[in-house]
């Protein structure tokens, strides 16, 4: 009887360790805001959710592919990843000597990122959720109108190879979340809801023939060049694409 009880306690303890080894998350209080590209009503409502404090790291992703071999470089199928998926790794489970364990994972596709988050009982953030958290600076939840907020982001765009830095090396924002700007671009669950593209399809600008209802989409703040760049990148991506400066983090609803 006692032994069983002890065993049970031990197992519960083990379980809690299991849960704790997931990355740190913080709660984001929902609210309303006007994103760069919104809906017809402009205001977007965000419900409460939890977000990873840091982007997913190389180490975390190595652990993931060890447990989920179908996402290893040689085994991931072409429907889900392009040829540069995890390109810099030495092999299926080993990082390159120059890659740090606690740098953000990059060269990752949307499918891979989505699968990673789902495996953790989480999901990718929506564009609107990501932008909601990312419009904060150190002290304000919405710093988009501040000159130095935009300057910081724009100066990052000019810096080369920031993906080699480690997580936590940029600032902690109002929500206690690190590295939304300054390290890597991040995948979002509905990146393909951005109906502007810079790619070579027939849609130059907003082609009302290719996109039904495209007249409804207008930038609310074209001055917000930093954000415009993010939307432009999202619009140019396909889900199997991987890029050296594109990583991800996960969120969950409760």
């Amino acid at each position: 009887m006692k032994i069983i009880l002890r065993l049970a306690i031990f197992l519960i303890f083990l379980n809690s360790i299991n849960l704790n080894c997931q990355s740190k998350i913080v709660k984001i209080k929902g609210g309303e805001y006007i994103p760069l590209y919104g809906r017809d009503s402009l205001m977007v409502t965000i419900d409460d959710f939890w977000i990873d404090v840091y982007p997913v790291t190389n180490k975390e992703y190595v652990d993931y592919v060890k447990k989920n071999p179908n996402w290893q470089r040689s085994k991931a199928i072409k429907l889900f990843v392009d040829e540069s998926y995890l390109r810099d790794w030495q092999n299926d489970t080993l990082l390159n000597a120059n890659q740090k364990l606690n740098s953000p994972i990059t060269n990752i596709s949307w499918f891979a990122a989505k699968s990673y988050c789902e495996n953790q009982g989480k999901r990718l953030p929506t564009v609107d959720e990501w932008e909601y958290v990312a419009m904060a600076n150190k002290t304000m939840p919405d710093a988009r109108s501040l000159k130095n907020y935009n300057q910081f982001i724009l100066s990052w765009y000019e810096k080369p190879k920031t993906f080699n830095q480690t997580i936590g090396s940029t600032f902690k924002n109002y929500w206690q979340v690190y590295d939304l700007h300054g390290l890597v671009w991040e995948w979002t669950s509905d990146f393909n809801s951005v109906l502007i593209t810079g790619e070579s399809r027939k849609d130059v600008g907003k082609d009302s023939n290719l996109f039904c209802g495209s007249a409804a989409i207008n930038a609310t703040d074209l001055m917000n060049y930093a954000a415009f760049m993010r939307y432009a990148i999202r619009g140019s991506l396909k889900a199997k694409y991987t890029m050296k400066n594109l990583g991800f983090r996960c969120v969950k609803d409760n």
């Binding site: 049970a8 949307w110 499918f111 399809r201 209802g213 495209s214 409804a216 619009g235």
Partner: protein, 236 residues
């Protein structure tokens, strides 16, 4: 005591839960038969001639002709494991559509602008497929508004738009499945208001193995190339 044992069992179980899914390969059944049916319903598993009239044996199941390879290629949409509700109230995975050339489009039924025209484009393509190929082509509509487009509404849409028949299939997924599928097609869409979406106007053609072979972009465009591609994949 009993409850403790139960807790013990439960916690042990949760430790070992894994999310691995195994793919099962179905082996294709290929049958040949004498076109004259000299031996009645007798079938052969290999090519050859009829021992009675010496005519070449003929493949009898058209569907099986297309499933010669049981392997799904890396680029096939049949790698997606999501499940979908059809307008007839059945639940299927995409793999169940294997064996036919698939012509797919993403729409939503409350759409007033482009979708009726996209549906018209689909109808035009269907009409131009020669009769002998019709059995080998399936036309599939996927709703980008799974919340509103229930199987009943999809069925009604099919009836209203004269696209209600064996060769037409309508699919309702989940928000996440639809997003994933749109990404496979490189279709973009965004909800603008509760009953209104912006979306790419793209009709996609998949070969019987589920590989994307052609995309027609825009509304009311010349569908010659699309039809040629469909016939080509059927003949392969």
């Amino acid at each position: 005591m009993k409850s403790i044992k139960f807790i013990l069992l439960f916690t042990t179980l949760t430790l070992f839960v894994s999310c691995d899914k195994k793919n099962k390969d179905e082996t294709a059944k290929i049958e040949y038969q004498c076109p004259m049916k000299c031996e009645g319903e007798k079938v052969y598993s290999e090519k050859g001639t009829c021992p009675v009239c010496e005519m070449d044996l003929r493949l009898i199941s058209k569907a099986s002709k297309k499933v010669l390879s049981t392997e799904i290629s890396e680029e096939s949409i049949f790698n997606l494991t999501s499940s979908w509700n059809t307008e007839e109230g059945k639940t299927i995975t995409l793999k169940e559509l294997k064996g036919k050339t698939l012509v797919m489009v993403m729409v939503y039924t409350t759409c007033k602008a482009a979708c009726p025209r996209l549906t018209g484009d689909m109808r035009n393509i269907e009409q131009k497929i020669p009769a002998e190929y019709k059995e080998d082509v399936q036309f599939v509509f996927i709703s980008i508004d799974p919340e509103n487009d229930t199987p009943e509404k999809l069925k009604q849409f099919a009836v209203d738009n004269y696209v209600d028949g064996e060769q037409w299939t309508f699919l309702q997924g989940t928000e996440s499945n639809v997003r994933e599928f749109a990404n496979v097609l490189a279709v973009k869409y965004k909800q603008i208001s509760p009953l209104d979406f912006s979306h790419s106007n793209i009709i996609s053609v998949f070969n019987p193995g589920g590989e994307l072979v052609h995309q027609q972009e825009g509304l009311g465009v010349d569908n010659k190339e699309t039809i040629a591609k469909i016939i080509e994949t059927v003949n392969q």
